[in-house]
């Protein structure tokens, strides 16, 4: 079965720096999504990139997708303390009834 794996598992940066998180997966996908989870809270959708797209931007977020390497990266530019959270990639295969496979997540800490 496919599996999303993020690295690094934990990332600590200073406010204003950029944060890059990577995700790898094993099988073909329909799309890849990134979610954020504040401690003890629900998941919040950040961005979705389809399998035929290579790059997507949303505000301070930039996502890339390389289907040949089965990998994706999430870049958060000019990070803020409020960006402190866990970030998960989730892959969606065709005809899977909307089932998402989540990775282990990257725990991002942004120090003021």
């Amino acid at each position: 079965s496919q599996q999303g794996e993020e690295d690094p598992q934990a990332l600590s940066i200073q406010e204003g720096e950029n944060a890059t998180m990577n995700c790898s997966y094993k099988t073909s996908i329909n799309n890849l999504q990134w979610y954020r989870q504040n401690s003890g809270r629900g998941l919040v959708h950040l961005i979705l990139i389809r399998s035929n797209e290579r790059e997507k931007h949303s505000g301070r977020l930039r996502v890339t997708l390389d289907t040949s390497k089965k990998s994706s990266s999430l870049l958060i530019t000019a990070s803020r303390a409020a960006d402190t959270a866990s970030y998960f990639c989730a892959t969606d295969r065709n005809n899977q009834g909307g089932k998402l496979i989540f990775g282990q997540g990257t725990e991002l800490s942004v120090k003021p």
Binding site: N30, D92, G98, K99
Partner: protein, 114 residues
């Protein structure tokens, strides 16, 4: 902004007891899901539900689990006889469409089985 709401936020139960977790999905959404997250582990898919039937379920979703949409608004997850390993955060989610769009998650119901 519309949101998915879940109740209870935390439930403590004895092993072997039945538990029902409730969710109110976003009103114009058609697809509903349950996921769970054991403490410190990844979020795992349990089941998806569309048009009053299960679309897909994972290996975790065995005979002890069931889902129901008893009326036009609620979506419930029932665990018939809880085990210690069922302790987790259970997330309900909904989406307008499957396969192509984002999922909207609730804040979760924390289940503790003693």
């Amino acid at each position: 902004e519309p949101e998915v709401t879940q109740t209870p936020s935390h439930q403590v139960t004895q092993m072997g007891q039945e538990v029902i977790l409730r969710c109110v999905p976003i009103s114009n959404h058609l697809y509903f899901y349950w996921y769970r997250q054991i403490l410190g582990q990844k979020v795992e898919f349990l089941v998806s539900f569309y048009n009053n039937e299960i679309s897909e379920k994972s290996e975790i979703f065995d005979d002890q689990f069931s889902v129901e949409r008893p009326d036009g608004s609620n979506f419930t997850l029932k665990i018939r006889s809880t085990k210690l390993e069922d302790s987790a955060m259970y997330f309900c989610a909904s989406s307008k469409r499957s396969n192509t769009g984002e999922l909207f998650f609730g804040e979760g119901s924390r289940l503790t089985v003693l």
